[in-house]
Amino acid sequence: MSGSAALGSLGRGLVLPVGLLLTWEVASHSGLVNRQFLPPLEHVGATAWRELASGELLEALAASLRRDLLGFVFGSGAGVLIGLLLGLSTIADRVVMTWFNGLKQIALLAWIPLISLWFGFDEMAKIVFIGLAAAIPVILNLVEGIHATSRKLVEVGDVFRFNRVQFILFVYLPAAMPSLLTGLHLALIYAWLATIGAEYFMAAGPGIGGLIIAGRERFEMDLVMLGILVVGSVGFLVDRGASWLEQRLIPWRAASAQV
């Protein structure tokens, strides 16, 4: 695509969002729509500034990110261990995998009532829930990656008389690495989603989810919008960062299909 064509498509892409924002602004100022439902943009901006200046927004964001990260670390750590066990042991796989596949069909948020009954509403419960959200994709992708290891590469290990440890270190783990990274990438996304979910339902302590729920309860539309903006932006940045890392960590990815 040439430079001017790229610019043209960028311009077209701006038409709808800008038009929408303008309509919003006009509707809000003209009194056509109740301001409570659609506060003018500058009110949202002012709220954002106020929350930023008071430090409340940053505090909430820091609390959410801390939870997110802790849950991700514990959850994906457990996920790697369980995934290794299920992927490498035929017996564990046969005994557990079908049940695990059934369990994962339960929509994630449906675990919240049970987890809150077991662990209460405080930090512990939230981190357990976020960890659960992070562990599932790691387990699934790691097991799949190990199972998908090319039979042809395994035979090369046979020829060189690899022992069990050598097979894991030099064949299965590297072969499963792209899949594992995909799993960790998904885990980051799910963990962030779970963080918001946990904060909605176990609303104790600061957090972005709590901020949104509080905004809704007090009918502060601008606060809710601000919260949604933050949730979306963090999700976007986490996703982009993970993709970037993934590409750098696997120099051989381009050729992982060929043997």
Partner: protein, 269 residues
Amino acid sequence: MAGFRRISGRVIVAVLRQLTKLGWLLILPAITLPIWIVGTDRGWLPEQILPCPGDVLHTLRDMIASGELAQHAGYSLRRVALGFAIGAAAGLVVGSAMGLSRRVDDYVRPLFTAIAQVPALAWIPLAMLLLGIGEGLKIVVIAKAAFVPVVMNTSAGIANVPRAFVEVGETFRFTPLQMLRHVVLPGAIPPIFTGLRYGLTHAWIALVSVELLASSEGLGYLLVWGRQMFWLDTVLVAMIVIGVIGFLSDRVLAVVETRLQRWRIDGVR
């Protein structure tokens, strides 16, 4: 005769394989269920942590017999069906337009990406303020959840129909309509179906979220209610039903999808 013997041998092998699979499957419950039963019976596991399996079964049977479960599940299924139908239909229209026309894609893509970036869960409070907590809220949230993956897969599926096939159509001087009918749609149907499958999964997850947050009936509500009353057996029953419905719908669509995929692979050759 030999052929018959070979076939019956194959059947026996298949049956044996299924039986072995079942055997492996039963090992886990054979270990955990006794521990669970004995544990609750002796009071090692307090009722508030895990009710005994008998209680859960009992509650399940009661709720089925009284029609309570069917009523809640009915509410949930109706919401998902309606929300999914609306979201998927809109997604097919928007996704096709984006896939077929570079220009439409240019206009719509950035706004779509921005909306898709924020998960359904985060939209719920906003939607609650705008729409209240009635049926409208649930339908809109579920429709949005289904809309996003359908648009993504439909537009990509149509835009990515291999150039080689399009060229075949061009050599036969196909009209645009013929191109759509004989080249683009057959090539795009498998990815479109994948989008629909994801859409249904997301719709089901969104349903649970929205029912947990704002509802007075449905399976999600059952969870909240059981939680408030500290009725763990009710919570577990609701989780099981949510899991089973999610599993069944995914299974059915997966089977259809494999069919379509097989056909696609044949088509490429």
